[in-house]
Symmetry: C2
Subunit: 425 residues, 2 copies
């Protein structure tokens, strides 16, 4: 029976079987140490002969567990048998036992298959797995239905630009930029509360530390809300749950990055500022008059929130109508919108808002955004046959991952990131 | 405070607030009934005047709850106030209160935005939400990491045919047919046990009740297995968990379709038959000599398993090498493979197997499948640097949904199915 590295110390003076990768070989002559790595951690193997295998080879080892304060976990194994399940080439592009920080990002991306073995890199995706798990878990607990909707669309819903074209038999279709239309269909179908975790695509040509051309979008949509305030409050609860679970289950991954999540209840303290007010705060904080909320401004806002409210997160609502998609519900005066962004640790991780739910308002909005009813007939049919007041938001999963761990580039939070030049591996 | 339709009867003689869609209006003159539909069920409203709203309009209703044995749930509401939140067009393409069976599949797909409101259609996606939930839940409980990998690939892994091309900036890339390569990278990264739920794409031109050009693939991959037997046993446990949870939580949706899931423990009884043996059983059952396992044969096999083992499911292993992808681990004689399919209620819902994990075996396999190392250099790098014995499988989520509910066409199990002609809505 296999024992995981993390559990070896529970089997003192017992014969166990461990499987894993040769992480580090330390040859001292009389006694040689091999650190074996598995998904749970590390275990030390002690050899009196010279170990004949290469770094990263995969072993199946049987042996007796002995106490050793200096070994990881306080125990080591004296192997009675070693089977090499897979021999690794001695020439590895990146040494896996080195610190990931030693390598530039380009090297980590160019040698991705190997780089993902670096414990600090692997930890990113262990954390991301927890995020996916606890985000979904909360939604199901809150009586939401999980949906999977098509990523092949005939028209864009976010404005029609920045779409990747797909050769689809005799037709040309596009990769969806968001499941917005489909979420609204499913809400109005009577499911009322839906969420989806799927890929989204943006054919944006620029290359920034904040953007991916393919990313994982956690999308929420719910009926019978009054305004974006209900959505912000829902997101506070959601993130509070996720952070609490991550704090309980991912301390090892957080520690590798010297990171932590906001404490339980912190999200309840995140302030809500109006878009105009946000610009004033940024102007005051940075000493520079701002006309747009740019990345530097988002960081200044979070510094302000940390200082004033003890939390590194700010909701911005009251966005001008021209800055939001056509389906956003306008304020009473028609100039602003019932929409919001959430800035977390200096980066926008969420955009959301109440949506239109009335055919007349929809038809009124279309020309303002250069759209026509003919071009948006499927969308019109959502509002035509009884559509509850509703709204939702989306969280960029790589961005959330990156801001929790303090990654400098969102590409680090994608196992196989796609940018303008990068389509491999 | 809103009360859900299913809970109204708990509030006898109390004033409550309900939200929902006007499902059915019955005008009897002195007294008129309106059935309001929300995500939880139905509640009857009693009016003494003629109701002035249309079917499918969305209402917010306040009123007192009174007992009525003839009403759904044994209670009804006498409204003191009704607010119409959204007015529905009286001309609806499909009457929502009709049985879904009344409409041909084409009508349900052509009018999808409206058809999804039909309670029986909506129930498909309520069940599918549970499948997504419990599949993931089991995997996380079993110490698997959830991954999200790129769907934009530069080369195919399933043979290179049937790929949709994407115009990706200056490059041409393809929509992934499966996450096979990425799953193997992540397993060999040291995560050991991974799963992914994402879309997969097949540019197959034929239109059958079994195929979708875009489908949701539940993909599993795990290290340190011996053979496909470990995988079949794992899948037995997984499906047993999912069926047990669905039986506990989705009786309403199952009842609408007159469906049921296999009882707890049933999957343990599903027989494993060798590919050659399967053909012999089919020949015997159908009285026709078969050379390939075709849909009719899959149904005959399941009838046989039901009769002989009391379960409507069969594992077929020992597939000939030429019928499986290049990455499949061959049997000792090199002619067969350590791979399997699971046939459930007459339809293949899973394909899986042990994979190659040795560079020499991989290089030996490539020319047999018309592939070169140059074309597969990323794949080679998985095996080059220490790769544990591993394998996995994939379940088609729409197929599983369809076979649980007894849907005749897998398109019914996709909210927005894509086929050769259909790219809307």
């Amino acid at each position: 029976m296999r024992v995981l590295a993390q559990d070896v110390a529970k089997y003192l003076n017992t014969e166990v079987e461990v499987f894993g990768w040769v992480h580090r070989i330390r040859e001292l002559g009389q006694v040689n140490f091999v650190i074996l790595r598995d998904r749970s951690g590390y275990v030390q193997l002690v050899f009196h002969e010279k170990p004949e295998f290469t770094h990263e080879s995969v072993l199946k080892v049987r042996g007796r567990v002995a106490a050793n304060d200096k070994a990881p976990g306080g125990a080591e194994i004296e192997p009675s048998s070693v089977e090499v399940l897979s021999v690794a080439d001695p020439e590895i592009p990146l040494a896996i036992y080195q610190e990931a920080d030693k390598y530039p990002l380009e090297a980590l991306l160019d040698n991705r298959v190997v780089a993902l073995r670096l414990p600090k890199i692997r930890a990113i995706f262990e954390l991301q797995s927890s995020l996916l798990r606890y985000l979904s878990e909360y939604m199901h607990q809150q009586d939401f239905f999980e949906i999977k909707t098509s990523k092949l669309i005939s028209t864009g819903t976010e404005g029609g630009t920045n779409l990747f074209a797909v050769e689809y038999f005799e037709n040309k279709v596009y990769l969806a930029q968001s499941p917005q239309f489909y979420k609204e269909v499913m809400v109005s179908s009577g499911l009322e509360r839906v969420f989806e975790i799927s890929h989204a695509y943006r054919a944006e040509k620029h290359d920034t530390p904040r953007h991916l051309n393919e990313y994982v979008s956690f999308d929420v949509e719910m009926a019978f809300i009054e305004s974006e305030v209900d959505l912000m409050n829902f997101e506070r609860g959601l993130l509070d749950y996720v952070f609490t679970q991550v704090a309980a289950h991912n301390q090892a991954e957080l520690a590798l990055w010297g990171a932590s999540v906001p404490v339980a209840g912190a999200m309840a303290k995140a302030p809500v500022v109006d878009h105009e007010e946000a610009k004033e705060i940024i102007t005051k904080e940075t000493g520079k008059k701002v006309f747009e909320i740019a990345p530097e401004g988002e960081r200044a806002l979070c510094d302000w929130a940390q200082r004033e409210f003890g939390v590194d997160a700010v909701f911005i609502n009251g966005w001008p109508r021209k800055k939001r998609p056509f389906y956003t519900f306008p304020s009473a005066d028609g100039l602003k919108t019932l929409s919001f962004d959430l800035i977390f640790r200096g980066l926008e991780i969420t955009s959301g808002g109440r949506r239109l739910n009335d055919l007349a308002m929809f038809l009124d909005a279309l020309p303002k955004f250069g759209l026509t009813r003919e071009g948006m007939s499927d969308y019109a049919s959502i509002y035509q046959y009884g559509c509850p007041p509703h709204g939702g938001f989306a969280i960029g999963v790589e961005r959330l991952t990156a801001r929790i761990l303090g990654l400098l580039n969102v590409k680090e939070a994608s196992p196989f990131p796609r940018d303008r030049k990068r389509v491999r591996p």
